[in-house]
């Protein structure tokens, strides 16, 4: 994106005093919501600091959209509290109407009003706020330039492509300089190429403007690109909160490990515990013994003889013995299939009862369809 937003004055209206520094822009405390007879959101605690980009990530039905809509004020929680800039916005008996929350929101369907031009769509929030005509004109123009729609200002939405409508929705959400920007799977209706492009563009915009963002998606790649912190949700609860690196490399649970990236899960039994080094030696059911790092909490309870599941990413499984292996003799595996994908080979191998997916730059050497697998040093991680 060229010359991004440099010219736009982006001081969110409430970020003034230094006393606010420690106050979260958004805080959720024990948030709960039952829809029908399922607990859609079942006790969520989250703080989002000013300028931060947080992504709610999870499969459909995990409660991420419900959470977002509670923040927006379209759904009232059954329990818990929502605070915006330190002020109560929702609890079970009170709900500030959406229009009084000073938020911006980009909808999955874009929700661009078909009867208004691009300009009128973007200007709406400023009009409602009672700004002067000159101000509205100037700010609308600036925001449209920001999303590169300056040339289409007088078109109707029906005359725009999906991607352009998406930009209108974004411009409309940004125009009022909201204290918090909500995005509900905004890219899911775009085609694959455009989606990938928009990810990076959105992230650039968010960083340059320094706008606080809560983003909902089920797409892990989107989450990795867009997030300062990812909140992985499942069945109405938070499984893990962490930076993209943390949730990818050190998932807190089997679910997180399986949901983000491709995961090979190897079952085994703890043979030795090294609490100082933060790792355990796991005797894999598939054969061989492997030193694996582990979460502290799990490590505290781990004793030799207890069961463990080791997570290995496809690119962390090697077909050649590394210099300083975490293993003794390598795990024996049999060849199942091989696919050439340009920059690597995608191999399927059978180790014990488990089917493993391996991404390798080399084809590896097999004897009678057999080979030995090695974990890249320091990459093994216990998920449970």
């Amino acid at each position: 994106m060229p010359a991004l937003a440099a010219a736009v004055d982006w001081t969110a209206p409430t970020s003034a005093s230094a006393a606010d520094a420690g106050r979260a822009r958004l805080e959720l405390r024990g948030l709960r919501k039952t829809l029908g007879d399922t607990a859609a959101v079942n006790g969520i605690d989250l703080r989002i600091a000013s300028g931060e980009s947080v992504v709610l990530l999870g499969p459909s039905g995990c409660g991420k959209t419900t959470t977002l809509r509670m923040v927006a004020g379209f759904i009232q929680p059954d329990g818990g509290e929502i605070h915006l800039d330190g002020v109560l916005a929702s609890n079970a008996s009170f709900a500030l109407p959406p229009e009084k929350r000073r938020l911006g929101m980009v909808f999955q369907t874009y929700a661009v009003w078909p009867h208004k031009t691009v300009t009128d769509n973007v200007a709406y929030g400023l009009e409602v706020a009672g700004r002067s005509r000159a101000e509205i004109k100037a700010e609308t123009g600036a925001v449209l330039d920001l999303v590169q729609l300056g040339g289409l200002a007088n078109r109707f939405p029906a005359e725009l492509s999906g991607g352009q409508q998406q930009r209108v929705a974004l411009a409309r959400a940004l125009a009022t300089k909201p204290s918090l920007l909500l995005l509900d799977e905004p890219l899911s209706n775009l085609d694959a190429t455009l989606r990938e492009e928009m990810r990076f563009e959105l992230r650039g915009l968010q960083k340059n403007l320094g706008i606080t963002t809560l983003y909902v998606t089920h797409d892990q790649d989107e989450a990795l690109v867009l997030a300062d912190r990812i909140v992985v949700m499942n069945k109405g609860r938070i499984e893990q909160i962490g930076t993209p690196e943390e949730v990818y490399h050190r998932p807190a649970s089997r679910f997180v490990g399986g949901f983000i990236g491709i995961a090979n899960m190897l079952e085994g039994e703890v043979a030795a515990v090294d609490r100082v080094g933060g790792r355990v030696l796991v005797a894999l059911d598939a054969g061989d013994r492997l030193w694996s790092r582990a979460p502290e909490r799990w490590l505290a309870d781990a004793t030799p003889g207890s069961r463990a599941t080791v997570l290995l990413r496809p690119q962390d499984i090697k077909l050649e013995r590394p210099e300083q292996p975490d293993q003794e003799a390598g795990t024996e595996a049999t060849f199942v299939s091989e696919t050439f994908l340009g920059n690597h080979y995608e191999l399927k191998l059978q180790a014990g009862g488990t089917l493993l997916r391996v991404q390798s730059r080399v084809r590896g050497t097999f004897e009678d369809g057999r080979t030995r697998l090695w974990a890249r040093a320091g990459s093994a991680w216990v998920v449970a």
Partner: protein, 576 residues
């Protein structure tokens, strides 16, 4: 899915929430709107129906009894009227299907010539109410003086008049012509929506064209046929105009005309209510069947698009089918409309059709200041304006409340409105009469209440569908932008459903103009409307005047319907 619950739960107050902030979240206007619309709905629909049921079940002393039914049906001719009604319903339903289904198939799936003509004819005969087509058919097929009969005797060598419209058979014929468009349009639309791939999949698997039609196409359009059949049955059962006009002359009765007779001076409310009960029960059962039996089949939502590949080339049969189309168009539209126009300018019924016999005196008389017809035109226009405005407004508010609010009783609104829809006009009018006669006796307001209640469902369904198609996101986007809910309606919802509201307004206006069954019961000498005057003219034998006034009704309705184009041709209304 704006779902801030209306009943704020009695959880212990948090001191952190100030009273002011709390009040700002309450939105009292919302309560007011919901409360008011529910109240109006109860007054318009629930109250008259409860009264009607009540009256049929209590005697003069106020005791619960079934005696009213016994006495009502023991009256002379009542049983015969019930039998007549049953025959009418059965014959009309069979006839409408026999005519409508093959026509729909020919139009949707063959290359027969004259398909456009059939669609047009069905539209015309749908727009013209039976109490008007009766006039045409009296002109064409009255036993002695009907012009078709004269033609047959003078030129075709018939000994006696071959047609007699003033008979039970004539009534059945007129009713069939009036309702077959329901079947035709429903089945035609369904056939057009059967995606070619469904049928092609069967053909690929070795099924021939006939077998494919019977095992794939027909089951797919069955729900449409069943829905249409139910509508036709209800229509035939509650029809009043043609049975009244023909029944008076041919001396027979059906249930609806019996109800009308019971309300003549001195009115016998209890008996009228009791006689209306079978119609109500039949209606309720039909609607239940509709809801459960047909909806259950609606997994087969037809969303495809017919393609040229589905069109059957008829070959030699093409001209047979074309001839059928032509005859249908001639008999159901061209002849009646032509007859009506001709009669309205003919010096007198029975006169030879010659240029010097064509006069404008009937129209002059209708617009004459000193003649009752002129007042009825004004009344009708006034009522149509008021009814259309009331219904469009109520439809908008109710449709929006039902689609956008979640509260206890939300389903009740839709339910009440649909009851009014299925409810036979004549029975509903009896209910309105009982409920409001003391307040509004002899005023146009009384008629307005009846029109509004009966036609509200049409406005409601149209506007509700319009709102349903609007993604709630559009309104929520306005809320997030800082607009309150009232403003979000003004800026987003209303501009986007304006088209649907406009169409509803025009439709209700047109339907009000031609409403007869309720008007006949509710209108007094000072509050006559066009349809009641037309009926009076027919019964008095002044068919030329009836024709002239009927032409006025048809012309005004048709030109109003033309306005619909105004509301549909807008590029911005295309909402995904």
């Amino acid at each position: 899915m704006s779902e801030i619950s209306l009943t704020s739960r009695a959880v212990g107050d948090r001191p952190s929430v100030s009273l002011l902030r709390r009040l700002s979240a309450l939105q009292p206007v919302r309560f007011l709107v919901i409360g008011l619309s529910l109240a109006i709905l109860f007054a318009l629909i629930a109250y008259p129906l409860i009264l009607l049921t009540g009256y049929s079940l209590v005697d003069a002393q106020g005791h619960l009894t079934f005696e009213t039914f016994e006495k009502a049906f023991a009256r002379r001719g009542m049983w015969q009227a019930t039998v007549n009604s049953a025959w009418l319903v059965a014959l009309v339903t069979i006839g409408a299907c026999a005519l409508g289904i093959p026509l729909a198939w020919i139009v949707a799936r063959t290359d027969a010539p004259g398909k456009a003509l059939v669609t047009l004819a069905a539209g015309v005969s749908f727009v013209i109410p039976t109490f008007i087509s009766v006039i045409s058919w009296i002109f064409l097929a009255a036993p002695n003086s009907g012009y078709l009969n004269k033609l047959a005797i003078d030129y075709l060598g018939f000994e006696t008049a071959p047609f007699n419209i003033m008979s039970f058979g004539g009534l059945v014929f007129i009713e069939i012509v009036g309702v077959y468009p329901l079947v035709f349009f429903a089945v035609n639309a369904a056939l057009n929506n059967v995606d070619a791939s469904h049928e092609q999949a069967a053909r690929i698997l070795g099924s021939n064209r006939l077998r494919t039609t019977l095992t794939i196409t027909l089951p797919l359009v069955r729900p449409a046929i069943l829905s249409a059949v139910i509508l036709v049955m209800l229509d035939a059962l509650s029809s009043f105009g043609a049975p009244s006009a023909i029944g008076t002359m041919a001396n027979f009765s059906v249930i609806t005309t019996k109800i009308y007779d019971l309300l003549k001076f001195p009115p016998q409310f209890n008996y009228a209510a009791a006689v209306a009960m079978p119609i109500m029960v039949f209606t309720a059962i039909s609607l239940l069947i509709q809801k459960y039996a047909i909806r259950a089949e609606n997994f087969r939502t037809l969303t495809g698009k017919a393609t040229p590949e589905q069109i059957l080339t008829l070959g030699r049969w093409r001209w047979v089918a074309g001839g059928f189309c032509l005859i249908v168009a001639l008999v159901t539209a061209i002849l009646p409309v032509g007859a009506l126009l001709l009669l309205s300018v003919l010096s007198s019924f029975g006169a030879d059709i010659r240029l010097d016999n064509l006069v404008g005196k009937h129209y002059a008389l209708i617009f004459d200041e000193n003649f009752a017809a002129r007042a009825s035109i004004l009344h009708s226009l006034l009522l149509a304006l008021a009814t259309a405005t009331v219904c469009a407004t109520l439809g908008l508010v109710l449709g929006w409340v039902v689609e956008r609010f979640r509260f206890f009783g939300r389903e009740l609104i839709g339910f009440l409105v649909m009851i009014a829809y299925g409810f036979p006009s004549i029975a509903y009018a009896v209910g309105i009469l009982m409920g409001y006669v003391e307040l509004f006796y002899g005023t146009l307001t009384l008629i307005l209440i009846a029109y509004a209640g009966k036609l509200l469902p049409i406005a409601f369904v149209l506007v509700r569908n319009g709102i349903q198609q609007l993604s709630t996101d559009l309104e929520e986007a306005a809320r997030i932008s800082g607009a309150g809910w009232l403003r979000s309606i003004k800026d987003v919802t209303f501009p986007l459903v304006r088209g649907a509201v406009g169409i509803a307004w025009v439709l209700v206006f047109s339907l009000s103009l031609r409403e007869l069954s309720m008007s006949a019961i509710l209108a007094q000498s000072d509050t006559q409307v066009m349809p009641t005057v037309v009926l009076q003219f027919i019964e008095d034998g002044a068919v030329e005047l009836a024709a002239a006034l009927a032409v006025v009704i048809v012309v005004v309705s048709l030109s109003m319907l033309g306005l619909i184009r105004l509301f549909t041709a807008k590029k911005t209304t295309a909402v995904a």
